[in-house]
């Protein structure tokens, strides 16, 4: 077991973890943060995407022990005081989700993209190539991210 200190959605957590525990399973099973979804577990579907020190990463492709000393944001950390943030509100407004399975991963990846400046439509589409959505057909997701970007 390896001692890990990690900050998740602003709260410090200390745990002794087995090295083979994936970050996605740590978030879901150890911390009970089931908003991070697990789909393919090999990096293709994007559902498990979280922010690691502000950068979007696949939590299924990271060992939890690798997050030692890092700050993680999951979908549970986006809304403040029960209010949807601008990106989440744009998703609701544009009906950019149906079943919601892919949504947490897309929200976190888009949060990283938007933090880098105003993306072009092409950059939004490129981002979404890494997120499988079987409901909406993507168009409304592109619109929601574009609105949150102010374009």
């Amino acid at each position: 077991m390896i001692d890990v200190v990690v900050k998740v959605n602003g709260h410090e957590r200390r745990e002794a973890l087995e090295p083979r525990l994936l970050l996605s399973d740590f978030l879901r099973h150890t911390l009970g943060l089931t908003g991070t979804h697990v789909g393919c577990e090999h990096g293709v579907c994007g559902a498990c995407t979280v922010l690691l020190d502000g950068v979007a990463v696949r939590s299924c492709l990271l060992l939890a022990v690798q997050a030692d000393g890092a700050e993680i944001v999951t979908v549970e950390g986006l809304a403040g005081n029960g209010e949807l943030n601008a990106l989440q509100a744009a998703f609701r407004e544009h009906h950019a989700l149906q079943c919601g399975f892919c949504t947490p991963g897309i929200l976190l990846a888009a949060t990283d993209l938007l933090a880098r400046g105003t993306p072009t439509r092409e950059q939004i589409v490129d981002l979404l190539s890494g997120h499988l959505c079987r409901c909406t057909g993507y168009e409304s997701i592109v619109e929601a991210i574009a609105q949150a970007a102010g374009t």
């Binding site: 390896i2 087995e18 090295p19 083979r20 525990l21 994936l22 399973d25 577990e41 090999h42 990096g43 994007g46 995407t49 950068v55 979007a56 990463v57 696949r58 299924c60 492709l61 990271l62 060992l63 022990v65 690798q66 990846a109 990283d112 993209l113 490129d126 981002l127 190539s129 890494g130």
Partner: protein, 262 residues
């Protein structure tokens, strides 16, 4: 738990990492970005007894060195400094996805040596090299042995790659077709064209390692296609892949020539 159990080491120095590899040989696996290794762990295709996490090693710098860029093995594929090379600027958008490029490393992609990965083809086209913990500099064409196999020794860590700077007047281009954006390539071609008619072409995915092909300057696509013997698969027949190699070489060469400046 998806992966089988393993011991985990997080060395702080290259020497420490190399000595772990020397001690454990083939039983150890180096973890860099993890975008290829962790899927293999999750599916239990790889079952190392020791995972050597390289992420705390001081290998994330980029420096000029004798006309080349020396790119530390841990430089992430999303690093904007890489886009200063026109070939990498065109190839990197094909490497996985936004979030996997954030984590995936240049050194990891080179050491993994997937025959359908973009960065090995680029390194080979440019005549680059890998620098190892034992002090060897291995030219790309000697590094890639076959699919998933390099000439790195089991106790050798890839510490940097050397990317020759763009040559004056040369144009570069990269072309790829995959089934979906971000998937591994069905076929890819990279080309460098010089101001005096120089031409160099490399192919990937339809060959077992990145391969420089000697093309007829008047019929680059056709002559490249004649030199490959691709294996057909569920998604594309051998005949289709050979045709595709010709089309992509033709496109890459045309674009590289347009960008060349006499």
């Amino acid at each position: 738990m998806k992966p089988a159990p393993f011991r985990y080491a997080r060395p702080e120095t290259v020497e420490e990492a190399a000595s772990l590899l020397a001690e454990h040989g083939d039983e150890a696996k180096v973890l860099a970005g993890g975008q290829s290794l962790v899927p293999m762990l999750n599916m239990r295709i790889a079952r190392p007894s020791l995972v050597v996490d390289a992420n705390r090693l001081p290998l994330d710098g980029i420096a000029e060195e004798n006309g080349s860029w020396r790119v530390g093995a841990l430089v992430r594929q999303a690093d904007p400094r890489l886009l200063e090379h026109p070939l990498l600027a065109e190839a990197i958008p094909f490497v996985g996805h936004f979030a996997t490029r954030n984590r995936g490393t240049v050194g990891g992609s080179i050491a993994h040596a997937d025959a359908a990965a973009e960065l090995p083809v680029c390194l080979t086209l440019l005549g680059g090299a890998a620098v190892t913990s034992s002090g060897r500099t291995i030219p790309a064409q000697e590094l890639f042995v076959t699919h998933f196999t390099t000439s790195l020794e089991p106790d050798e860590l890839l510490v940097a790659t050397l990317w020759p700077r763009p040559a004056a007047g040369f144009g570069y281009a990269f072309a790829e077709l995959a089934q979906r954006r971000g998937d591994y390539a069905l076929c890819m071609a990279a080309a460098a064209a010089g101001p005096r008619g120089e031409l160099r072409v490399a192919l990937g995915a339809v060959v077992d390692r990145p391969t420089v092909v000697d093309v007829d300057p008047d019929a680059p696509g056709r002559s490249a296609a004649a030199q490959v013997e691709p294996f057909g698969n569920l998604h594309a027949s051998a005949r289709y892949l050979r045709h595709l190699a010709g089309v992509l070489v033709e496109r890459a060469v045309a674009r590289a020539r347009e960008r060349a400046r006499p």
